[in-house]
Symmetry: C2
Subunit: 333 residues, 2 copies
């Protein structure tokens, strides 16, 4: 539905994490990425080639994807000039932000005048049901994190890719804008109305073959007070058979909450598993995914080994080491 | 803002619980209630005088309040004739259902033609912030339940009333349609977009005097897979200093989920308290509220005594016995 390939708009991203949408697209569907567009003061770089709007257009880019998120999901005033210029050149726009492209009067007017399409992938387009809690066939895996943005989506994408490579039945189920922009389907969970959150997750992960695994994209954290309700809806709507604990070892406090320390992996396990067993008494913690991006190879290997010894669970960075051992663990469930 | 007094519309309520909105208004603001309107097959009775639309109008009723909820919150087709007749007589309509009065073409057209007001109290009218988790001054109390509809709102209303009677600083903070219809303010939490749930609860319960208590209306249950995400947002957005455990002893399974058994009060305590301490490490479980409506006086007293002995916490039915002992417990926090 969204015209490919993309030019990834990083705007004036204040840090690398703010560009995780663009990073996800570039990592998992590089064939769809022509380049990245960075404004003055941009602190993010997803590793694509830096390009001007005109240059990328000439190389075939047809949609400018807003691959950067402000806190609260606003469309920054400082982006306006770039976005309107892109529309004039010929680009469609795609965005997963809370504030909608279509609600920006100038952007909407130019898009209408030039015949461009504005894709607001954050907006639910389905009337989701209220969750009924009925046991569904097939298997489901959910990554839960010690914090937001610790690699839950990557974990799911990597496990899905590994299962596909092995010829196993597997589907990645996106629950956020990046996943939707990568795969072209999914639910924009954090934009769903409260009463229908768990129902939207049930809708996303319906009955399936007994040996099929859904890899449900995690959101937020039970320990992140801003978004824990969203995480809760994933745990109960997803009724996972397996949880993967996800962690980023260099985080000094909960993202955006300077007064909140990160929980230990033990605390995460002990909080998440009893909650998951309400919806699925057979649920187990199958493995641990550590985001070692900030560490060197040796340090990353040592940390995974230490955690594995301590927790008694296969522990890898799926992006660095592959998701093979996590998939092995699922196969044993 | 809503014209009083009310005629309470019970429609064709399938059971007594379905009319809990009307019941709450009649119990807590009986001075605002002229009577109740029941359709053929109505299985609920909130104890108000049965009246026709004309009769109640002559006795002064000015708003017909839809005091009954279907699962999913729809405006039933079978109600249409009554609602349109009410508009023609002169009533405004007020509703807390998900489906909005204003979106029913016939109702909307007649209201516009006759100059009546349609109050959809379920619709958020504020752009709530994302929760920031900052410690706020003042004290907060939240009731958490073993299930939905076990008396959490009643508990908060009764504790607030008791504190007011004692001349203490106290505010009831509604988070659902009944509470909003009773007090005229609050947040329609289950209609808030996922990312802003906890922020809306922070907004509802701002900084206050150190000796002031907010009694936050509870919603759902951590053990109810359809709505646990909403409960989670209340626990983290409300950062309660005290939890009250709420229970209904005759429930045979989770409301609407025949495959789910109710948790014990011990299980509720052990699940809710560690979650609450993420946002407020000083949080305690202060008491237990048992909804003994289905029991005789002796049986109710025996049950409360048994639970109190087992759990080591003051245990009452605040509606039957008063909330004095729960307020005593808060004073000791």
């Amino acid at each position: 539905m969204i015209r490919t390939p993309y030019l990834l708009f990083l705007g004036d991203a204040p840090d690398q994490l703010a560009a995780k949408v663009a990073q996800g697209i570039n990592d998992w569907r590089p064939e769809n990425v022509v380049g990245q567009f960075r404004m003055e003061g941009c602190k993010a770089d997803v590793g694509a080639v830096n390009m001007s709007l005109e240059e990328a257009w000439d190389k075939g880019a047809r949609t400018l994807v807003i691959g950067v998120a402000n806190r609260g999901g606003v469309i920054s005033k400082s982006w306006q000039a770039v976005l309107t210029q892109a529309l004039e050149i010929g680009y469609d726009l795609a965005s997963g932000l809370h504030n909608l492209l279509r609600n920006e009067p100038e952007i909407n007017a130019i898009a209408a005048r030039e015949g461009r399409v504005l894709h607001d992938v954050r907006v639910p387009t389905i009337a989701y049901p209220i969750a009924n809690g009925k046991k569904r066939t097939g298997k489901r895996c959910l990554a839960v994190g010690t914090d937001c943005s610790v690699g839950k989506m990557y974990t799911g994408l990597a496990m899905d890719a590994e299962m596909q490579n092995r010829g196993l039945k597997s589907t990645f189920r996106p629950t956020g804008q990046t996943g939707i922009l990568i795969t072209g389907q999914g639910i924009p969970l954090d934009a769903v109305v409260a009463d229908f959150m768990a129902g939207s997750v049930e809708w996303l992960t319906p009955d399936n073959d007994p040996d099929h695994w859904d890899h449900i994209e995690g959101q937020g954290s039970l320990f992140h007070v801003s978004f824990s309700g969203v995480t809760m809806a994933l745990i109960h709507g997803g009724q996972p058979d397996a949880l993967i604990l996800a962690h980023e070892p260099t985080r000094t406090h909960m993202r955006g909450l300077p007064d909140y320390a990160l929980p230990s992996l033990e605390a995460l396990r002990d909080m998440a598993l009893p909650l998951a067993r309400i919806a699925n008494p057979a649920c187990v913690v199958a493995g641990i995914s550590i985001n070692t991006k900030a560490l060197g190879d040796d340090e990353a290997a040592r940390l995974c080994e230490e955690v594995e010894g301590r927790m008694g669970l296969p522990t890898v960075d799926p992006f660095r080491h592959g998701a093979g051992r996590l998939v092995d663990a699922l196969q044993a469930v």
